[in-house]
Subunit: 211 residues, 2 copies
């Protein structure tokens, strides 16, 4: 076999291991996850598994980073020119990632709760790094969305921060409701967006009337 | 000894076990928490521990319920007549509970992440019950706070819901920041309340100006 072919087989094997491992780690806490089960699932010997990954912990952290990358990578700029277009496009993107990568989503949820001291420090650092990255991206999107509004107090630095806190809270409410069935989210997207708009309008236009 | 005295000793012993157990469960995941450590801490024999609690699981669930009760019980109605008085009084109460019951707070945080299948179903149900109770209480407080406002659209059912989502998100931000050091929260309370008011004013008065 040519070297190129060998390297391709090697890459395919590594991917097969990662795929099985993400499924296993998405279903069980770290301590209960089994490398036997992982190698069985992808029909690869245990020797080969430890040829690619030096330990179960190493495999776990590589899987977690891959899952986080897949869920958070954005290939395109958020579309839209108007405030709600920008907000809804960002939300659609988040739900779409849950739809395309459901096991990755579950593994990240499991990792957030993982308490085993074998991986606690490393997984916490990894999660924190991606949480900060996610916050930065959300802040950029929100700054762009806010720039389309005519503000009452354009110099008030709290406006973008307030909207960020609020929009994230409302979105998390829907993510929590639909995370196990993102299909439903897309089926009801029209309805949900109308409701979300009613929530956000409360902040855009205020709830207290003139004296 | 009189029966009354005996019952008092029995009650004291039970309390001593619960106290040590809450500390142990606040520091370790369920599987790693040790009943040996608990009995050692409160100088009570293991036989006596299992006389009061039929199993480690039973002890865990009783501790968790006691911690939740202590953190969530409100002895007095939220004080205050004006919107911000009511909101700040509710917030002060939450932080005060963290200050008075730090181990209980930590045990509940641990329980929220607990994944061991030995206790998963029961602890999840228990947490859910208290989360719902907490949401009901917050909704009552918010309804009272909103009733002090002159609303732009008094018939809009979204207003209270929107404020609840928003105020909880802002409060959770501060709870997260100060949960390990509630003393700091009280030391900086004036500053924090000013900031919180700036956030809430965004929703009360709106951020978009007149055309």
């Amino acid at each position: 076999m040519k070297e190129e072919q060998l390297s391709k087989i090697s890459e395919q094997r590594r991917e097969a291991i990662l795929k099985s491992a993400i499924i296993e780690f998405s279903q069980k806490p770290y301590k209960e996850a089994s490398t036997d089960q992982i190698t069985k699932q992808c029909s690869i010997s245990k020797g080969l598994l430890f040829h690619y990954f030096k330990s179960k912990k190493d495999l776990y952290l590589v899987c977690l980073e891959q899952a986080l990358m897949r869920l958070m990578t954005r290939k395109k700029e958020t579309k839209g020119e108007a405030f709600y277009e920008i907000i809804f496009s960002a939300m659609d993107h988040k739900f779409n990632q849950c739809l395309v990568f459901p096991e990755e989503m579950r593994m990240v949820n499991m990792a957030a709760r993982e308490m085993s001291k074998d991986v606690f420090e490393e997984k916490s650092k990894l999660l924190m790094r991606y949480i900060l990255k996610g916050k930065e991206e959300s802040a950029k999107t929100m700054t762009r969305a806010v720039s389309t509004l005519k503000l009452r107090e354009p110099q008030n630095p709290k406006v973008t921060a307030a909207l960020l806190v609020y929009v994230n809270a409302v979105m998390n409410h829907y993510l929590e409701l639909y995370k196990e069935r993102p299909d439903d989210f897309f089926a009801k997207a029209g309805e949900i967006k109308k409701e979300l708009k009613a929530y956000l309008d409360c902040m855009l236009y205020g709830i207290v009337g003139e004296e």
